[in-house]
Symmetry: C2
Subunit: 212 residues, 2 copies
DNA sequence: ACCTGAACACCGTTCAAGT
DNA sequence: ACCTGAACACCGTTCAAGT
């Protein structure tokens, strides 16, 4: 996506002194706290500033607007999920295709379920906050990690193409979103985890068979 | 979901005279028009009222709040998608499993792509408007239609269970959301349509094999 | 360089008054 | 029964003044 899509959410000013860096961090954490305690609708810039122990004016010195606050929280969450999956991809090189897929899917589900409350809160604000752009970027990054892993799969002449990997990622995240927003129980989540593994494995098998 | 989740979005008052019914309809249509022309962020109750040719007060006589306006639009859209798929399910009875799946997936993709602009606009407001509840209800309704169809599949001792059908629906809608929000081209959409058919077919095949 | 908070603009919602 | 629009409350954002 064009840089301009994101620039409106970027920090307005970079802190140069230490107390300023602490302020920025405090505001960031306050955002997540207010998001979780009051919910997205009742998240107010004044309330966040209050919680962070600064005035609204200070908040606006570092975040250009309310969206930027939530964007930062969303971006960080996606970054964490990404990082976990990249590690798994690294560790699953040269294993059989089915196991690769299982590990990635399980890592994704676990990362989301482990942060279920934040995930749900962020789904709620994603749209107003440039969520699609972040998701697009995240998808590209995950696709690359998956492709690097899939390259090393034994018994696989041609690895699945870009498109198939993206479809798989969208299917996983869509199903997870649905379950998390519906407030699925831990038992449900375990079952969903198994089913998503099966779904992705059979899709990947079908795609690679079709390509051969 | 509990009725109370939805009740806040229901009409405050039912029109009894004809001009009132016309007013309600005008407000509903104005909502969609403003949504498409100005975007979700710049949709204002005053603007909707203006476009509908009434005053804000009148708007609030029939819709309890801004969310209710958007809820109505979202609900109607889902209703249309549902209806189209139910018809397809009806027509695909007794056909082979693979074809059933293909027809349903294609109907879903076509319904969404045919209304791409509205879909994207509604994704943007879904969260603030009780979207998850509507989606949950829609999923139940579609699941029933799919189950009725799957019952009639030849060469299938045990049809896929509830859970698998719901996972499949969530995967489809998640992948479509991702593509629509990313502004995928018509060519991309055609390719995605084929891939989703393959994904769902192979998942259903795997699930029914595992159950046997 | 960083912080404050009163002031401004805008928008969702209401309600007394009209037909 | 239905409609109007000025008035109110609240919230995002700014900016002149402070340390």
């Amino acid at each position: 996506m064009p840089a301009s899509t994101l620039i409106a959410f970027e920090a307005r000013k970079t802190p140069v002194q230490e107390r300023a860096a602490a302020t920025v961090q405090a505001i960031f954490e306050a955002t997540i706290q207010v998001l979780l305690s009051h919910g997205a609708d009742r998240l107010t810039t004044t309330r966040v500033a209050e919680r962070a122990g600064v005035s609204v004016g200070t908040l606006y010195q570092y975040y250009p607007n309310k969206q930027a606050l939530l964007f930062a929280a969303f971006d960080k969450h996606m970054e964490e999920v990404c990082a976990r999956i990249e590690i798994v991809c690294d560790g699953a090189c040269r294993k059989p295709l089915g196991e690769m897929i299982a590990q990635v899917v399980e890592a994704y589900v676990d990362a989301k379920v482990g942060r279920a409350d934040i995930s749900v809160a962020l789904y709620h604000v994603a749209a107003e906050v440039g969520g699609p752009a972040v998701i697009k970027r995240t998808t590209q990054r995950l696709r690359k990690a998956l492709e690097a892993m899939l390259e090393t799969a034994p018994n696989l002449k041609v690895p699945p193409d870009k498109f198939a990997v993206e479809v798989m990622l969208a299917a996983i995240s869509g199903a997870m979103r649905s379950a998390l927003e519906a407030g699925a129980s831990p038992a449900m989540m375990r079952k969903l985890r198994e089913h998503l593994v099966l779904l992705c494995q059979s899709y990947m098998a079908a795609v690679t068979a079709a390509q051969a």
